[in-house]
Symmetry: D2
């Protein structure tokens, strides 16, 4: 990992390189067989402890569409989706994530996924009939980083409700955008996910080359998933898109009207990373949901990779608004394929919170000689 | 001051009454002569220490239109304004507010203002030719609370640029909306400004009847000025309106792009009080500027007065986001008619910051039995 | 009526004067008694032929709030309103307007209204208990132009739902903004409504001084009512406000989703007159409803009066999009105080449609030497 | 081509199938060699007759960024672009399109393009140094439909200005979205472009199977290009994206302010096809430019293909607003590789304008028994 100073700095204050500037000295083996061709993040299955309360949050407040439901599970989708679901709420004793599920390009990619993870020595389970309703032939694995991943192609088509404006709420969620995973060693995770076919679009580093987070994409947006440094494996958040920024503000307004403003953890704001407009909520079990809009096209193979200095106070919020500590510390546990909690491995690299918040942290607004700016009012 | 509990509580969590629920046992005398008929807040004159830097902030960043300028002063207006200016920047040694200026209905109202303040024993100075460019016959006073107020009718008309969309920026400021004054004894200030013809639209109280702030209007919006409890007389902020919420977000985005995000002090967010969307900036001298949009019509004489419980965490920000301490503590000094700083009188009532932030403060999201909610992540 | 050429032309292509440039040689008598002090347009009562169908349009599609309803009438209000209603739908055999109702400043203004119209020889009917639910002491008159007007002060307060974002739809209507009346002789109407206390903010004329329409305000917006030249008395439209432009687009999108796009008569677009963003719909009986947002403050007594040249193609639509003929020709009949249709008097002045549309009409985009612009594609 | 009635009709009134429902009995030969792997439409080169006037339109009015310019050509890009340009304005005697240029995935895809078109017997010209500034090894061809197409991979990277909000205008263009080509035989064109690797996302047909237009994508949006039925080869339009709908409205407002509203040909409105929000402008030479935002993700191989009935009045405008005749009839000529105008072949199938507008055309709002709706006011 080279020093930031050696890179091309943009007029916006971050750096660009032509290739992902991340290396690891502790890599996971690269399989000899080809990886499955991943199209996009497709759905997340989460365990919730009170199905009715979670339904209230995701359906009545956020307005996701119920494709199907029974006493144990609710299958939800966004308005522009044509596959069966983007989120499964499953009733269970402990709040956790059951699976991060990706859609692949062809039925044969399931075979490839089986071979890929088998060679890595991972636990692999395939079900021709699928693990959940609406999805056919699928494979679930415990990936080398401890995350439960699923791959599928076969899926039940449902009506894309994009034109059904009579069903839109002011804060309408139109797409699943991405996942975000907490993992202790970011470069190791990035290298592995590159083997799986993901491409890095942005990352956060410091001058010593410590990598705090990286964003990885299959579809040509800024990410389908991201690796955030921290004790893991844990799930940081799942993100849905709106069309416009006012839709995100409308969700905040509605939460205020319902006297649920304590569900707003961070934002709304403009990200530095991704340039998207964002909001972070916490569901009744504490699972974090991001509402997200307007990042940029990344589909060219030589798409410039953006690196942010961890001390740049605009990296996480372009307006310099502070990141609340819970956003750094809290995350959802993930399950193994038997439904048990995966054990947690602690991060040994420095934490982004420690180096940027509080007495020991230092962040600048302007990286200029003499005067670096500070954020008024947040110097607690 | 009656208890909050005795009032009609709305389904939104605040209270309404038909008349302003504020009384004082230490009133300023009500003059026997009629008050001038105030139309609206019209402009503020502020002293800035570096005229070029302030021009950069107000013209290049915020996009106000220069009506006229010389080496000592810049006269600025918003896009929908047809009077000469809404803001005067005057070069001076100490950053402060020179005047809060209101437009009155007729030339004769200047005579009324003279009589009104003369009877109150205030210092009164009238100039037929006006105190600043573009304004004719005016009177300036040091009001009983120590604020420099001006009243005028005669004014030079300039072109209303509302239709000149070629001049609009993404964060276009279209109107001056209001002033906000810091004063130690809010009920006393409110009673006096009611004598001057202002009407209360909203206020913040606690169960013991302590009043922390009140909003007062001439034109039929939520306010032309507000009385915020604190050491005073000081100027809390001056506010300009945009048409839509995205315009306010655009100002934040631009400040980020200019690496001036430290000029953002608080927000953007949705106010509980006024229901408006807001943002607070600090200019190069620390003068606070609010950007504001979409409050409601208040022009009926029996417009319901809204009272917020000081412990309602959604009163200042409907989304429950924290108010930064500087927003409570910092304010601009004001000048007397000779241009000297007015002395400060300390607030003796409890401060809103003390009762709502930190170890001693308590705020709720939901005022319900058993469970009152709390704001995740902000429990520092 | 002076020539347009003699006036001050703005950089936006229209003209401004300090006083309304409208005179009439056929005035209605000015009463010797004072006019009632009108606060604002408050509600319209319309007769609809199918109450269920109208409820679907105004409640299910447009999202107005039902304050109260029975088998014969539905009382509706907008989200920021605190008086009982802004619109009454009353079941009846013939679609028409029963009353244009204005709120006055004090109970005594009802007496003034009685005296004012009595002196004019108009039919006047006062009811202490009100004519409709929620409204107390009121007077209804057949005004000198044949319109049924009502004035009231006493009204039942209901909850202002401005903060209830859980009730907002994407196209939420927040305020009643104005009425628009069709009348054959615009200058005569304007002069009379000025006697009633309204002030002219804008108008449309030609070089010969023919006045095609004028806008009149009580509250400080561009209008509470307007006089549109045509066979009358008829009601051209009633207008509700949204907060932002996307709210208006959302109404169009929803009408498309419901396969009711034929309810969209004109727009959406930007008005030249008023500078507001607009949309015109037709309800199930053909009553025209405008959705409107973002005009400008007009509350100063010397507010510049804007005059548009009838041949300026941007006067009705700032983007030059054509006005459909039905918008010029169709309007709702109005009732007398017995509930019978008022007879129609034909306009004798030239019609705006005739002088601007089709083979005989000429409109320019740019009023410049040599090249005046034309609208591509609309040269049918 | 099967009948519409045999397909699955959605609740929104259009039809979906799993595969493109378009066949041709007059196909262009499918080459035996693989097609180049197209990433996306990348730029268009247009000939303009007055470079200064065109610069005013594209730079001063629309706000595109000048990457480079000289006396003969201007290279322009959108704010989120990192390749050298998205539009080249080249000075020339006759307004026309010089090339539709696509970016391919690898340098080797240029070889594939050469082989592909050589086998088709097309004129092919390759230049290692590129045809225009900023672009390296490229091939230009006269494709079997007569269009000048270019393919390249090598390109100069420039700064992506996405974060430079200080450079944004209210109508900021952030991406090149798509091209649109006029061609006489739509099924024949579709079949050929499918050979080239494009996928159909939507189309317009009638009950007899006549295809009026089809949309084709490389990147996962609704299109990179479209085939519109008409005399061709001609260029119908080139489209740029904004982030939000208000950005498009701002462009209209600005054109009004500049008294250039006659440059607005059609819209703004909501498309049925693509579900995007749109506006069509005409540049100083009559070249048509669309401003476009918010279509949907189409990247899955089994993405449902949408078919619209040509008589569905909401297909072209979801709000049922009329399409102006010029939009159907006007288009830009295209050049061969020598810079001469390509000859025009007339459409022999029925024209969409003829079957939907005027006395012979019939369009419905609702496809229901008994009552089909009609658009008020447009029944000229």
């Amino acid at each position: 990992m080279s020093e930031l100073k050696g890179r091309e700095k943009t007029s916006s204050g971050f750096y660009v390189t032509k290739e992902a500037p991340i290396n690891t000295d502790n890599p996971i083996k690269t399989p000899s067989v080809p990886a499955p061709d991943i199209l996009r993040c497709a759905y997340m299955e989460i365990v919730v402890t009170d199905l009715a309360k979670s339904r209230e949050f995701y359906v009545d407040v956020l307005g996701l569409t119920v494709t199907e439901e029974d006493e144990n599970a609710i299958y939800l989708r966004s308005l522009e989706e044509f596959i069966h679901h983007n989120l499964v709420l499953r009733k269970g004793p402990v709040a956790a994530v059951a699976v991060f599920s990706y859609r692949v390009r062809t039925p044969e990619d399931i075979d490839k996924a089986v071979a890929f993870y088998t060679e890595l020595g991972c636990r692999v389970e395939r079900r021709k009939e699928g693990f959940v309703k609406g999805i056919g032939d699928s494979v679930r694995v415990e990936d080398p980083l401890g995350f439960p991943f699923e791959f599928f192609y076969e899926v039940e088509h449902v009506e894309r409700l994009a034109w059904r404006y009579d069903l839109y709420t002011p804060g309408a969620l139109v797409r699943l955008d991405h996942f975000n995973q907490v993992t202790p060693d970011v470069p190791r995770a990035v290298r592995h996910y590159q083997d799986l076919g993901f491409r890095v679009t942005e990352d956060i580093q410091d001058e010593d080359g410590t990598v705090y987070a990286a964003w990885l994409r299959a579809k040509p947006t800024v990410h389908d998933t991201a690796a955030t440094g921290g004790d893991g494996p844990r799930m940081h958040h799942v993100a849905f898109s709106t069309h416009e920024k006012h839709n995100i503000l409308a969700i905040c307004d509605k939460l205020g009207a319902l006297r649920l403003s304590d569900k707003i953890e961070r934002g709304p704001g403009r990200h530095g990373v991704s340039n998207a407009f964002y909001l972070y909520l916490r569901d009744p079990d504490g699972h974090r949901v991001e509402i997200y809009t307007q990042d940029y096209y990344t589909g060219d193979p030589d798409n410039p990779v953006v690196t942010w200095d961890v001390h740049d106070n605009q990296r996480r919020d372009w307006w310099g608004n502070p990141v609340v500590p819970s956003w750094y510390t809290d995350a959802s546990r993930v399950l193994d394929l038997d439904g048990n909690l995966q054990p947690i491995v602690a991060r040994t690299d420095e934490s982004e919170m420690a180096v940027t918040i509080g007495a020991d942290g230092f962040s600048y607004t302007r990286d200029e000689e003499g005067e670096k700016g500070f954020k008024l009012g947040n110097t607690l």
